[in-house]
Amino acid sequence: MSSKSDQSKMSLDRRRLLQGLAALPLVSMSGLSFGQAFPTTKVNTTGLAITDTEVTVGQLHSATGTMAISETGSIQAEQLAIDEINAMGGILGRKIKVIKEDGASDWPTFAEKSRKLLVNDKVATVFGCWTSASRKAVLPIFEKENGLLYYPTFYEGLEQSKNVIYTGQEATQQIIWGLDWAQKEKGAKKFFLVGSDYIWPRTSMKIARKHIENFQKGSVVGEEYYPLGNTNFNSLINKIKIAKPDCIFCAVVGGSNVAFYKQLKAAGITANKQFLLTLSVTEDEMLGIGGENFEGFYASMKYFQSLENDNNKKFVAAFKAKYGPKAVIGDVTQAAYLGPWLWKAAVEKAGSFDVDKVVAASPGIELKTAPEGYVKIHENHHLWSKTRIGMGQADGQFKVVAESPELIEPNPFPKGYQ
């Protein structure tokens, strides 16, 4: 592209823009200055749905179906972040407009809707997906159409796509430091691994076993998986009683959690007798389990609602102001909140909404205002983040009892753990 034609295009556009502004005296001053600095033809060379005043993004979660209960928090957090960004004047002088699509807890629907958002609506980015299955269903589409996805859930790793920014933790970040803490602080040597039977628990436990056996020189005295939605854990509880592990290490998800912790309590396996560390109980799950059934057990993740810092206080207050005082915020909800902010930072750094430029600008992006504290995007599109250990409280909250001293490097393809 010659610089001459570029220039003439720009001046043409500027003229059009100024004419438009003359007709709209109400346009804010910041919009005017940004509009001049970032004309639409410059910040959008790939035909995305961007006007002089608006940028369209997609939001793709399950608003209906079995996953709705988990994904609602993410929908709310993303909306909150977008509202806050719009209140600050938007991105490059453009307000964010959201097209909401319902994945309906159905992976093919996710695929259909993601294609619609990218091909038909030409959205600049998508915030969405929750389960690994839905991400796997949309990934080929994002890669083929060169879209951009901000994915909030902690997940199994083993993936790194140019077109995805993973704002949750990958498995090694969540697991390894937690296991080291369990060994050091709780003297755990014998572990019993329990999970729901699908990719995330399977991969997580594979990493946990390698770490326990090869690096900690501990032992795994049992490894059990149960189908999603399973509610009968009696045989598991018997096996645990026989194996007498120092630590029950869990990745049981969804509704199964409720039955699991109630049955543990009924069988007398409570926190004062048994140390339990889970990867999958957040404040959201606690609502269903009931604080009294989880009291004294531990969870390892990067965020808890009770985290003490100014960013988080502001975030919790804003979230409750918008969604009611009873709203709770789990790990994924916070990670979802980061998506729009990270995107904003990357777009502003790139000076463009073009997916390739935003992707190129993303590594190294820092967010000092994240509720979890400081985060930074790694070359591999995951976040540097700290891991914390929270102890369950009767009121459904966690007490943060430990925190990794440094940010933990994301390592989606861990060597020695395959």
Partner: protein, 396 residues
């Protein structure tokens, strides 16, 4: 009689041509590739719906487990594509390169023997049809030989759908579990994700669907079709006439299964993955709804019904993401309440009489063709409703 038959044939031919025109000419011209690909996806359910017309409308056997056969066909095709996508180079990062990724994270170290046939395309294509048909044969032979039928058979097909879902999710090392088989890329080196590939697959899909409709229509007009109807309405009479009733039902069930499986395989090719969410009870019942809305006596109507429901689903969920499930249920309820014979029934009762009035003479001819309506027996009220539709739908 011959003249009447000719006219009946011609009538069916007319609506067939209209459908073919819409699918081959109108849709590709009016829609961009994204929407056309969606239509292609809907039409794969159309295979199931016309299978149900033969099985339920004509054979009087309600199956609530057609997702099983759709899924098996789809999985067979997905296995082939997954193996092709899992070459040692692109899976170099795994503990065992060269096997599908889900096997790797389930700690399998080699390809199971029963996966090997799916390395070959011809064997896969045979398996797409043969495996579901064989399963359908085993289920239906065991049931119909024992004269299990009606609602009991429907419940058993539901159980099969549930069992297969549990099996697929449980055996994730071999099947991909709840994620299904994702990231399918090429078919014999041909990238199925490109726009041109989507066009080609769409037309292959339409061709197969129209071919299947023609085949089913041919069966309907043959002696076999007449026997299916007779069996549906007075099973004992047919049996006493010396026919082996159960084998006709087995045939109808296997035919519906084979059609569903073709739909499943085309689904995998056009959507690019397969997951257990198509095998279970809910999608199976949804497929029955497609046929019911279209009119379960009409092959063409079933295709329109499938398109209508799925267009509705897409449109409502895009326009009203919070309300769409209510709107869909309103559509289902109102269609069943107002037009119990579906779209085809609507055409027969409202549109066709006007056309007929304009063309004199066809009225009395039709009444000759109409067999005396048997008295409704309390055990088969549904089939009685169906008969009314059948008579008038002969030409649809």
């Amino acid at each position: 009689m011959n003249a009447i038959k000719n006219r009946v044939m011609r009538g069916g031919y007319g609506s067939f041509v209209i459908l073919a025109f819409i699918l081959i000419v109108a849709f590709p011209l009016l829609m961009d590739i994204f929407r056309l690909n969606l239509v292609g996806k809907y039409l794969t359910y159309g295979f199931v719906a016309i299978g149900l017309v033969m099985l339920w409308g004509y054979g009087g056997v309600l199956s609530l487990g057609q997702g099983v056969f759709f899924g098996l066909g789809g999985y067979a095709m997905a296995m082939f594509l997954k193996l092709e996508a899992s070459d040692p180079v692109s899976t170099a990062i795994q503990s065992t390169p060269g096997i599908p990724d889900f096997m790797d994270w389930n700690q399998l170290t080699e390809l199971p023997a029963w996966w090997l046939p799916f390395k070959s395309l011809p064997l896969t294509l045979i398996a797409v049809i043969a495996i579901p048909t064989l399963l359908a044969f085993i289920i239906s032979y065991a049931m119909f030989k024992r004269r299990v039928g009606g609602v009991y058979f429907a419940i058993i097909t539901q159980a099969v759908a549930l069992i297969l879902t549990v099996l697929i999710i449980g055996q994730q090392g071999y099947t991909g579990g709840v994620n299904g088989m994702t990231d399918l890329k090429t078919l014999m080196g041909w990238d199925i994700r490109t726009d041109s590939a989507k066009y080609i697959l769409y037309f292959i899909n339409v061709g197969l669907l129209l071919g299947s409709i023609a085949l089913c229509r041919w069966i309907q007009l043959s002696k076999l079709g007449t026997l299916l109807l007779a069996m549906r309405d007075k099973e004992d009479r047919v049996r006493f006439s010396g026919y082996d009733v159960s084998m006709f039902k087995v045939f109808a069930f296997c035919l519906a299964a084979a059609l569903s499986a073709i739909g499943g395989a085309m689904f995998t090719l056009q959507v690019g993955f397969m997951s257990p969410s198509f095998v279970g009870i809910v999608p199976s019942i949804e497929m029955v709804i497609f046929a019911a809305i279209g009119g379960r006596m009409s092959l063409i109507g079933a295709v329109y019904g499938t398109l209508l429901v799925n267009f509705g689903k897409t449109y409502f969920s895009e326009s009203f993401p919070d309300l769409w499930l209510f709107l869909m249920s309103a559509l289902f309820i109102s269609v069943v309440m107002v037009f119990p014979n579906g779209l085809a029934g609507l055409y027969e009762s409202h549109v066709k009489p006007r056309l007929v009035r304009r063309k004199s003479g066809s009225g009395p001819a039709k009444s000759i063709e109409t067999p005396p309506k048997p008295a409704a027996t309390p055990s088969t009220p549904a089939s009685d409703i169906g008969l009314g539709a059948k008579v008038s739908n002969q030409s649809a």
